[in-house]
Symmetry: D2
Subunit: 284 residues, 4 copies
């Protein structure tokens, strides 16, 4: 694949944004290979994502950013340019369950979608062998009652030392400190094992079983200080029936969880997710 640049931007809507941005790209002789725009009629906010064939650009990512800056300022844009030559760096946090981890390891190895896996952190030793066998560093950071603060400082340091861009909670089972969440907005992705906002909190499959729902689901969302309430990236569901025990629902749920997390992470590392307030715009 040729080098490509992805521009994502959002700003208050006004006449002329698309014209200005696409004009700039055209002026430098570059092709837009994928273009998505959305204009929210309620908030009057504008969102866009351009994938740009960069082979004919006279400059690289930095040059393109410099060329864009005046426009971005004029429109009051939140914006970002990513290069296909610098994939997202991902740090995965797990506990003992490995269905999501195992799926992400597989997709990473097979390049199902492209990201750099910089390490796996766990509060247990159980999954070390599998992770190291894949050639990925494994960090055991125990989270014990009196030493939670220390543990999460260590994890944040690992995030910085590995120059990670995004932290993925792949069934991590620990609640992150609010300040950590606040310092990494839209950079921590969680998979929640229910169709949020149904069944927040613990044991969602047991709750679902007891409520007698006919469909279960999973939710991939950004982590915010408020538990299970961050912007939703992706959701999916699966039918269950009266014959399915809690255990079978948990097993069926594993398949939905790993699929939804993989999709959510793919959208994130391909810059397909723009956040506005507590909602996301996803260009799939």
């Amino acid at each position: 694949m040729n080098a490509s640049l992805t521009l994502t931007a959002s700003c208050p809507d006004q006449v002329g944004i698309i014209a200005a941005i696409s004009g700039l790209v055209a002026e430098h002789g570059a092709s837009i290979t994928e273009a998505s725009q959305h204009s929210d009629p309620v908030t009057r906010h504008f969102f866009m994502r351009y994938e740009i064939d960069a082979t004919r650009l006279p400059f690289g990512k930095a040059g393109f950013e410099q060329a864009l800056r005046p426009l971005a300022e004029r429109f009051g844009m939140d914006w970002q340019v990513s290069s296909s030559q610098a994939p997202y760096r991902v740090l995965i946090l797990v506990s003992k369950q490995d269905h999501c981890l195992s799926d992400l390891l597989y997709r990473w190895r097979r390049r199902d979608f492209i990201f750099d896996l910089v390490g796996v952190v766990s509060n247990h030793e159980d999954l070390r062998a599998d992770v190291e066998q894949a050639g990925v560093p494994y960090h055991h950071v125990p989270v014990t009652p009196g030493r939670r603060a220390v543990a999460f400082e260590a994890i944040e340091r690992l995030f910085e030392d590995t120059r990670a861009d995004v932290m993925v909670l792949a069934r991590y089972m620990q609640i992150l400190p609010g300040e950590l969440c606040a310092r990494l907005p839209h950079r921590i992705i969680n998979i929640h094992h229910s169709f949020l906002p149904s069944f927040v909190g613990a044991s969602p499959y047991r709750q679902a079983y007891e409520r007698g729902v006919k469909i279960i689901g999973a939710t991939c969302h950004y982590v915010t200080e408020e538990l299970d309430a961050g912007p939703i990236i992706e959701q999916d569901v699966m039918r269950v029936h009266h014959g399915d025990s809690v255990e079978r629902m948990v097993a069926l749920g594993r398949d939905v969880e790993r699929a939804v997390l993989a999709r959510g992470l793919r959208y994130h590392v391909q810059d397909r997710v723009l956040v506005h307030g507590n909602k996301t715009v996803v260009f799939p």
Copy 2:
């Protein structure tokens, strides 16, 4: 179609139930054309539904009930026999929106599944013409602040006078008095315009829009004294995306609502739903 009898029963599980019931049916030379059983491993409760070709039975519904009674007592069964010759009698309650009503009227006229439509009650006059055009009695029972009790007494009387078996709230928009719900257990069916237990209460699509969910749904459930908390019969969902306004979500939701209600009502009038505690066993 030949006359058929449907037996539904539930009781504490024990050895020999299927043998005894199927033995009785066989003894009288009748064929079981559809058999479903479920044994809940947690509650140790047993559920069954037999559809029986009654053409070769030496007796009718009453005779079959008499033959069954000793077995039913021995096993401590909750049980019921329905005859295809006496379809369920359905009373529909609506407000001003007619997407569910219109769909049920269509299915009733075209015999998509079989039930007797004994009348439509509404707190408004808006839908009278459509209902009467279909040859169905329309009852206008206004529900005004000071006269709620009177209104619901009138509705309960209509239910009795029409000898209705089941009351369907087809987007009725009024909360029924708790005592009425308690007097008609598992005989009032509601369609809720959300994927319960998400977004209970008012304006679920607005709630869903504001939460930024990626999937919306609808829930058909029995009405109990506790609002939106009764046993769930059927649910279904539909994908939405960031471009869908609240209005579009409401419109998409109408399609899911009418489909889920029709399915739920079909299951009910075909005796495919057995209730146990706050959960249902559905033999589709």
Copy 3:
């Protein structure tokens, strides 16, 4: 709703198309309220759909078309402008089954989405009362073995006389003459009662039943001279199981058919479908 214009266009891809079109719109002070673009990397063909708030435009549809013409010629565009003030005119063809017709009548009356229903044509008299009750002209055009040519001439004349934009085969059950299809490219929409290309031809549910598939579906597509082979607009599916007879599959299928046809027609009359070769680009 304010008056809006919808521009759809496609052309060989090249640098500067978006810039030029969005520049023109901006230049006249108009807002783009919904923008969708797609660039096919294989065929190097470009597709776009802009919904434009026309309230601040200094001219109407004709003026906008005139302003666009030079650009359209420069880029070699296939293009079209629609105005929200001139809804699509739809002529529906049916036979005896009314589940799709009944659903479209409902959506038309309730303005679920906007189109003008100019008439219903049928080769039978069965559905006259329902159609006329809704205030829609009903045309009985019998299609008998020796007089097929005459019948389809009459239908084509009706299409012209009613100034219809699109003909909808809502389970019409007759094969249209090839020349008629050729004269109305992408203006005849059919609902096929299978998940094409599975089960082309007659009795698809029987074929599906006999093949033992676990999922059935329906396909909304443009009609071309080659039977069941035109560009697909929309598809959807539904699970079936071994207990579902052909009759039950037909009944379940009705629900999918009407939903898929309604979605397909909505996409068409909202200019969300662009055809290229035998494929469609759909901006939902």
Copy 4:
């Protein structure tokens, strides 16, 4: 889990089958923990599956079979008893793609459902390391133009030597000799990368892309002498859109394929599939 026996049986339908079988089970004091029956109204064939808690039975699998034999003969049954203590023995065949294999290895290790994995056969060496790392024997059997017969004799010998019960073609990409298929009826399971009967044969995703379908799927089926035409066990689908290239469809398809194959294999090794003619009855 306690030892359990699973009885599956099918025979021409007649009065008294359920009574006789459930009577026999009850007579020996055993509980039926899961019971499913189906009576085909067209073919008048009867199908059943009983899961029996065997802890209180006075005999084992062999004793139960002996007790059943007279009944089975009386009703002309095809029947089989499986014991939870003797899991199905599975031999997997792969080529170079490993998404299905990798998923089955994961489920086998984590006991997502229970089976014995007796070996993996491939016509390539590529996947040896992954398989052997999991502790599973890997057999490289090249399939070269002049030596196909020799290769498949070797594979059949491996099937016998490993005492395998079922052969799983996990994207094996080779067409098995007709005689081999005929010798192992309902014992060879394939995953086909399309929603059969759409797109039989080679490159189904390319075919799907070119036909412009809006939904892709996968089919798990028993292999018969006629290519892609054996009894279907399970199918599932996934939405695609105009922006999805053939490559993206292949990638999305991998997720459906592995899910459908896993579900199909689970149904098979839990005796949930009964075959009749070219169709299956699946008790999920």
